[in-house]
Symmetry: D2
Subunit: 306 residues, 4 copies
């Protein structure tokens, strides 16, 4: 009965997801799990303290993997943002040494729980982690996705929109590939106000490669200022979850298994009650196709080391 969500890893992203679901009245039931039990209980308490001031009162539970058995949506948001501190350069694979161990720990627990809903992964490197979880847990591929380039696409929409002083929702098109350095904007797919971007950009002398750098750096700019990113990524994850619950068949670029490359990779997909219902084959230029193949193989390589 109702909507049951779980959040595995209540760090900045996970707790923001939990807060948004509670404050917007989206959740009827919410399970919080973290390797730091005190952290999970603190978030539970902070959210429960809020319910006297909110219209609704979701049930909030903690630390019980058994609850996943009938959970509709599982957000996997664990990570170790501190791992990024010690790296040189910006690379989400820097979290890998930690997240690798985390997923090896949680995958069997999720499997044992009997979870059979839809899993949405935000952990970094999210493409490889999602693929690993899918394999280990044995869920149908459709039921395991990562936010992937859904966030990067949102950043692309913001960056392009700023150039034209319009709402990011006026900008359509997709970022493909890894949620990481090998990602790319498929400029041929981008439109603003219903108009193809490329000729507009030429007319306005927009430096596309610079814009693309801004998009790729978007997360790092936020990270540099606040030490982590949380609001946009949590919003993207929740958007995907609602498309699942509503069986909306909403098109969202996200990370999902692509048979051609035998790898998870960010690409436009149709999201419904089974998770990814379909991948959409949007026409790309030859150069874009090459970039996609390259990005997918980067992910595949890293995945092999898991």
């Amino acid at each position: 009965m109702g909507r049951k969500y779980a959040v595995l890893g209540v760090g900045h992203v996970g707790s923001t997801v939990a807060f948004a679901l509670v404050t917007k009245g989206d959740a009827d039931e919410l399970v919080l799990i973290d390797k730091d039990e005190k952290k999970a209980r603190a978030e539970q308490l902070d959210l429960q303290d809020a319910t006297a001031r909110l219209e609704t009162r979701p049930k909030i539970k903690v630390q019980d993997y058994h609850e996943l058995k009938d959970t509709d949506i599982l957000f996997v948001t664990a990570g170790n943002i501190l791992a990024l501190k010690n790296q040189t350069g910006n690379n989400r694979w820097a979290e890998f040494n930690d997240t690798r161990e985390i997923v090896k720990d949680i995958a069997p627990k999720i499997k044992a729980s009997g979870f059979h809903g839809v899993m949405i992964v935000t952990m970094n490197p999210c493409d490889a982690i999602a693929q690993y979880l899918q394999k280990e847990i044995g869920l149908p591929q459709s039921q395991v996705m990562a936010t992937g380039t859904f966030l990067d696409t949102a950043r692309m929409q913001r960056v392009v929109a700023e150039q034209f002083y319009v709402d990011p929702k006026n900008v359509t098109g997709y970022v493909y590939g890894e949620h990481g350095n090998s990602q790319f904007i498929a400029w041929s797919t981008v439109k603003v106000n219903g108009l193809d971007l490329l000729p507009l950009a030429k007319k306005k002398n927009l430096p596309l490669s610079k814009l693309e750098e801004h998009v790729k750096a978007g997360g790092w700019d936020v990270y540099a200022g606040k030490g982590y990113t949380s609001y946009a990524i949590a919003t993207c994850a929740i958007k995907l979850s609602r498309a699942v619950l509503d069986d909306a068949h909403l098109m969202c670029p996200c990370s999902y298994y692509n048979q051609k490359y035998d790898s998870y990779v960010g690409q436009p997909a149709i999201i419904g009650k089974n998770g990814v219902e379909e991948v959409v084959d949007v026409p790309l230029t030859a150069e874009e196709k090459a970039k996609l193949a390259n990005s997918a193989s980067t992910i595949k390589e890293k995945f092999a080391t898991l």
Copy 2:
């Protein structure tokens, strides 16, 4: 036109307020100010990245005190949670050495901006800080309130509700006094399911003093687990702000100037477009009255040192 909010201090509480206003579509315009400009810009960016995935698109601005001129609601949420680390025992006055300096810095800037809306303070120690800001800025008292015991009352509602397995909204009654150690639950005002709590508690052998400890410790339990508190306090602040914008005349216990004690102190008040429209004189027992006087004088003392 529309709702214009500002958040001064985008730490854990301030950024949560900002995120909630954006994600729920409450804000039309939002100004973020922080002494750490990179932090303010990072929060702006993270929120703007989210707007491609949200239904609405509030304007988000940063670091401009001039924007306060026509701001409806100003949340003052600065603080230094780290200050609490070095103290022994749990005491919000431990933040005082830092927050004292902060408010001395921001008060003249707010004054110079021409701000004439309603100010909602969550900084600790919030009673004294609110009073200081009111005096320094010269706004009418009604327009400067602190969340005060609105949060403690929410915690009381949760703690009592847990004993009866009911929604915290079934629990009415008030926590009075300082948002700090000298606060107290006015048990004579508390009802659960429309029934007086005191006889029920006697019948169930509820240890009231223990429950009161839980309430007082509520914030510290959250703090211990996550290093700060954010969701409940932000939710309380937003609740007050909406009562102002709607001119709702909603009754909320919060910190406001009480002439009898010549001090800000947490007490039930009617919130409307002018901020605190009226204080409500709920009958208290003699013991409760004494506790209130004592708590108010504690605040007054500390205020004198500002």
Copy 3:
């Protein structure tokens, strides 16, 4: 997966319930059933046309009783508002001749569907209709409630609040009895701003019997101006449904079976996932108790004629 609602009878109340669930993003799945199939399809179409402009996309289905099998919440909102036109005086029993036939038609269909969720009845006379549906369908009593005096209590809160220029949410207390002429305000339970109403009313010379008339007439005033009532009743029904979905254990006066009177009757109840989890025995004066007994027997009498 998710929240599944059904609305049986998409007249003014039913279609308003449907619209609110869709526009607020509450529903994941929504089933509309009406004896007028064209009406149901028109409402479906009008709501589906809206989804291109809303953030979410609930699935909206029509005319299929089989869908009730796994429905969480069933709103029974059929009726014939026109029946009220030909009566003299204001009496919800005037709808009875029509609604009697309607429930005799729908009860076996609901039963056959295998519905086992919670049923919320707004049809008039709602107390008797709810009891009839519970008996005929054979659901546990807890799972069948009527909005009953939840709406009348909301009206009481508004009417009292207007006298004190405050938010209706500052007013607590209950209207008991029939959602009809024999209902009464239990004035001894009413508080405004946390203060007992009766002494305040004396001091302000408030004509309580006149206020009570206003409350009772509230629906008729709306009816006289717009030909039906819809927004408040739909809002009450939805509020109850959310308390069920969240298992909130929220206290709401509503119509439910009272063993003492062997009848459904409006009284404060705790609403959770099983529907009415518990009835709360709020202390009443002797006069109020007599009024409640009288109102219950009025309902019982009419029920006998079903």
Copy 4:
């Protein structure tokens, strides 16, 4: 302070707009005006009765044109749906005999009020009525728009989406022209899942002219089943209003003055705080251009008779 809306004409559309603004917590202040004062008061009362059960409490006022002076958004939703009953064929101009008289009555009253916000017209025939109101009241053109083909575009999105089993939000593109019989779908602009519709339609043998009939008939199908349309049109009007309040620069096809045709006509526009900030010149085929010119001249002709 806050968001102030007014609704002129609280029939099915106007009251639905009011209810949605209240139930979603969008409005801080709401003014209802109708030539039938009892109707306006009944809607006010029905909405106020709901506020005891809602999280917020907007102020709801009635019948006072003076309130328009500082109103942000004015919805003009008057009409006489009954006028459509006596016509043969489906034609929104059938309402014209009545709405003509209505606007002649209300225009001077709006003007006298000093209203200087943004006006959103849903009255039929909406293109001509909006133009008339703009001229008579003397507001800048940008501040007067009609929902126009925003609703027809939503219907097109639904109709196309149904063919592909996807969310209507996956469908982009525009309906141009009159909110009436001379409107047309600019098929060359339509995409589904990011792919051009025309080749897909050819492959799937979709009968485009039939789909276009469905879109054009959409409103009439709803009308036939429920006697009016309300939910989708109200949702469109509210969507426009929020884009204004947020200064979102959101692209929405709506009816606005087009200099080329010297007429209001449905076309893609950028909506911001001044209303229509800009018209977007999306490339059309020669045939589409001719249809637009034709539709605009139809509107212009009718406008001349006002």
